[in-house]
């Protein structure tokens, strides 16, 4: 099995001159083709200059950036109080539980908080259990003139 010249050209044009970057399944064939064909070696030489230049471009020191990311990561993985509360209520066990119950619980929490707050702060609304005397007094204040006419 051999490689065609078109395929060798396509490989070098795409992956460059260095065999280590060529597709693994065609590497051996391409190396053999290059060894047997001077024009293939010339093509590799043509692309080697670009690869050499690309090799020179090394990323500057990013250690500060990496430290920042690691400290952010530590904060993320620690989670907040709400996450810890959720984990305590519903620890990660099954995917179904995680997908259904946790969002449902989160959705219910404002409702529960609202009920508790409303129960605690009645905002001056008192019970409607009036005494018999109070009801008679309130009835006496009504205007019954139209009814009698």
């Amino acid at each position: 099995m051999t490689l065609s010249s078109e395929r060798f050209t396509a490989i070098v044009e795409a992956y460059g001159s260095q065999p280590a970057r060529w597709p693994a399944e065609e590497r051996a064939l391409a190396i053999a083709y290059s060894a047997a064909h001077p024009e293939a070696q010339a093509l590799q030489t043509e692309f080697r200059a670009l690869d050499d230049m690309l090799d020179q471009f090394q990323v500057a020191d990013l250690s500060l950036l990496e430290r920042n990311v690691l400290s952010q990561v530590a904060r993320t993985s620690e989670g907040n109080v709400f996450d810890h509360l959720l984990d305590w209520l519903l620890p990660h066990s099954e995917k179904l539980a995680a997908w259904l119950w946790r969002p449902a619980l989160v959705a219910c929490m404002p409702l529960v908080c609202g009920i508790l707050l409303a129960d605690y702060f009645s905002f001056g609304i008192e019970g409607v259990q009036n005494s018999r005397e109070e009801e008679l007094y309130l009835l006496s204040l009504n205007d019954y003139t139209e009814t009698f006419e």
Binding site: A10, E13, A14, Y15, G16, R21, P23, A24, E46, F47, A49, L50, D51, M53, L54, Q56, F57, V59, A60, L62, L65, E66, N68, V69, L70, Q72, V73, A74, T76, S77, E78, D87, H92, K95
Partner: protein, 215 residues
């Protein structure tokens, strides 16, 4: 996994050097798969130590990829942080049969970089260019520095996908299938993009430095 391990044990019993090499390669692949699987299972279960271990393992590669794509350390930091945040929050979307953790993370970074560059095209200013553009003129710089500056300029001018393909191929050692997976394209499309990228770089360098310096 079981099939891979049985292939591994049968390769080891053959005794030839080729088979030994194949066995070593297969063993490393299997170990890598197991490592990835264990790490991601732990992260999915909310294990902070596993998460930090995964971050430390992939941080350099992810940050360097983002820097070569964006050329700015502030944006690189944002994209890197977002990538690892997604590792924590979306770990359950990773599938071992589809991609390695490294490929999966680079895919997230690739998508974030592309989104970022499309939203704010003016932001593709290159910090790695500024260091030379600020004070010295190219004529006053050593030859190697001039070539490097020209290369960085040429890379910065490539379309996003071409830049991504060449960075992943040349600097990160991914195979063509892995790069195609990261970029969500076919291997044929990847080859076409890579060839255009190299042609573009050569033409740009030829235009700025002349034929003698590039060839």
């Amino acid at each position: 996994m079981v099939r891979a391990l049985s292939r591994l044990s049968s390769a080891e019993t053959c005794g030839t050097s080729d088979n030994a090499l194949a066995a070593a390669g297969l063993r490393s692949t299997v170990l890598k798969m197991t490592d990835d699987q264990e790490l991601m299972t732990a992260i999915q279960a909310g294990n902070a130590r596993a998460y930090e271990s995964a971050v430390k393992k992939h941080l350099k590669s992810i940050s360097h990829y983002a820097f070569r794509m964006l050329g700015d350390s502030k944006d690189t930091e944002d994209i890197t942080q977002e990538t690892f945040l997604r590792l924590w929050t979306h770990a359950d979307t990773w599938r071992s049969e589809k991609a390695s953790v490294s490929t999966w993370l680079h895919r997230i970074t690739h998508n974030l970089c592309i989104d970022y560059m499309r939203k704010d095209k003016s932001a593709i200013t290159s910090e790695y260019l500024d260091e030379h553009e600020s004070s010295e003129r190219p004529a006053e710089l050593p030859d190697r520095e001039v070539r490097l500056t020209s290369l960085k300029e040429a890379l910065a001018q490539l379309p996003e996908r071409q830049r991504s393909a060449i960075v992943l191929n040349h600097y990160h050692g991914f195979s063509n299938r892995e790069i195609a997976e990261i970029m969500d394209i076919s291997v044929d499309a990847l080859e076409s993009i890579l060839a255009r990228a190299r042609r573009g770089l050569k033409a740009e360098l030829l235009a700025t430095m002349g034929p003698n310096k590039n060839n």
